[in-house]
């Protein structure tokens, strides 16, 4: 099943069980979503439950919060994370804080889905990653979705949760294919060990996880070592237990993400490891990120601004050599 089909199925199945679930977003009903995620749901559930909104992100999120206050369970699609900026006040001041400020009298069972990242030459205003900012807000669960199986199970659980969830997708993953394990009782808060290894712990998520995986064979051959690759899955909270066990085993840590290096999400993972596991580390950790530049339209500049399988391989091998691997 494709990533976008897995999300569609999760929406479909939960909607068929609970009539309080409504979807809202731009072009999601009639068109079926820019990335075709909500295709078919309008026909099945009608326009009172699958709502095409105007281009008004602040209101889309604000309205969803109100719907949740009123007893519904809204699932919002923001066309891309780039437009979430217009909704940031609602996300930060309302969605994240109302439950706390009301001493728990208000609960917000809602999910905010949005794809992010560098796609292909979409230019500076359509290529950003905001998981760093979203994860820094207390009161939001933030999931980063790499695979169809995780998408399906994590979205179903997110919709059923009574707390607000940010569900981050990547624009280039919608056609990723994977068998879904229907019987699995996946815990969305738990990191996934993609591949076990002994010498280096590599943590990533979203598309960078796949780019890293594709370079892994050559890295291991070149450094004559074995890498443990982890999909972080939940960006806030972090499954530190899984990370800790891996780092204690390998003694080496690499963090890979697409967003800009300044203020990057992974900086706090590295910081945690240095604070908590300093004596288990055999080398200074490596953090691979996007550069501190807006993303250019030109393809070569675009690719030079973010990690690619090629640059990941080169940077890890260099780092490994320096650190005695």
């Amino acid at each position: 099943m494709l990533y976008r089909e897995a999300i569609n199925l999760a929406l479909d199945e939960t909607m068929s069980e609970d009539t309080n679930i409504v979807l809202l977003g731009e072009d999601i009903a009639n068109v079926g979503g820019t990335f075709r995620v909500t295709e078919g749901l309008l026909d099945k559930y009608g326009k009172a439950r699958v709502i095409d909104t105007p281009i008004a992100e602040l209101s889309i999120v604000g309205n969803a919060i109100g719907m949740a206050i009123g007893g519904l369970r809204p699932v919002v699609e923001l066309m891309t994370a780039n437009f979430s900026l217009l909704a940031f006040d609602q996300i930060v001041n309302h969605m994240a804080k109302l439950p706390f400020m009301s001493a728990g009298k208000i609960r917000l069972p809602m999910v905010l889905r949005m794809p992010q990242g560098v796609s292909k030459q979409l230019g500076a205003q359509h290529s950003e990653n905001y998981e760093n900012m979203l994860s820094s807000v207390p009161g939001l669960f933030v999931f980063a979705v790499n695979s169809p199986n995780y998408a399906y199970h994590a979205l179903k659980k997110s919709i059923k949760m009574d707390d607000p969830v940010i569900f981050i997708e990547h624009e280039l993953l919608y056609n990723k294919k994977e068998e879904i394990d229907m019987k699995s009782d996946l815990d969305p808060f738990k990191a996934r060990i993609i591949k076990e290894g002994e010498d280096i712990t590599i943590i990533s998520y979203l598309k960078m996880l796949d780019d890293t995986a594709s370079a892994l064979d050559e890295i291991e051959k070149e450094l004559n070592c074995s890498c443990e690759l982890i999909d972080l899955c939940s960006l806030n909270p972090v499954d530190f237990k899984t990370l800790e066990a891996s780092i204690k085993k390998t003694g080496r840590l690499i963090m890979i993400e697409e967003g800009h290096k300044m203020g990057s999400y992974g900086a706090q993972i590295i910081s945690w490891a240095v604070e908590e596991l300093f004596y288990f580390l055999d080398a200074a950790p490596l953090r691979l990120c996007g550069k501190n530049v807006p993303i250019a339209y030109n393809r070569k500049l675009e690719l030079a601004s973010i990690p690619t399988p090629k640059s990941i391989k080169k940077d890890i091998i260099n780092w490994g050599r320096i650190n005695g691997l």
Binding site: N30, F83, Q121, Y297, N298, R299, L301
Partner: protein, 316 residues
Amino acid sequence: MDTALMEDLYYSMLLGRHFEYAAKENYFQGNISGFLHLDIGQEALSVGAMKAFEGDVFTTYREHVMALSRGMSANAIMAELFGKVDGVSKGRGGSMHMFSPKIGFYGGDAIVGGHIPNAVGCAYARKYQNKKTGCLVVFGDGATNCGGFFESINIATSQKLPLVFLCENNKYAIGTKIETVSAFSKQAKKVEAYMPTVEVDGMDVLAVYKAIKKAGEYIKEGKGPIFVEAMTCRFEGHSISDANKYRSSEEMKKCKELDPLLKLKPLLDKVFVEKIEAQVIRDITEAVNFAHESPEPSLAELNKYIFTDEGLKHAL
């Protein structure tokens, strides 16, 4: 209207049409990538407005034809679409981001409605500088649902700013029909309490030209902004990757009958029309060749333009 002006408008529309044809062709040949929002069908609006307005212009991402008729060279625009170093934005911007302060063109914002408050601010600057020509901001019907739009009409009115709001009402925001998400199908309704509003046939270049000329004169009087709503129709999908499935073939047929080029052509001298068609084909062929030959930006200059050269010394 004088012949020279009509000929100029026709030439610009035809140039715009063929520019977009070439852009489309080169997209499918792999020379252009990313978003490509074609203006085919809406040329009367783009050309009429750009030729008539004297002050500064702020536009959306669907701006190739506006940039062209404002005076940017076809070579530089095509090279930008190719992501090359001789492009208007040196390959950094792409289709949606064309700027030329020299000719007062602040085009190409890809955040819907995002440029409207910027135009309000620029109109403030022009008023402050006693530059009566003011600003023109162009946006779609969908953008009139954005919060920033409503904030802008209030601020521009309360400050009596020299600003022309030009709404390109093509009745769709991507695949969403305006009536399904807007309280009104005519967006002027939202503005009537704030400022004078004018509706114009956006498929008639002469009508658009006259309406924007008049609006440009109006804002010089210092009485505040004015809203022009041009009813129009795009012939293609929202962007090149939009299959346009939400519009019936009947609707498309009706839309194409309004072709602004066919409307103006019978009013022109036949010899002129033939001559100009050949000229346009030559111009566009040259632009494509120019774009092909222009080099890629240098990777060593990845950081360039983020800050001034002085600022970059601190940033690196």
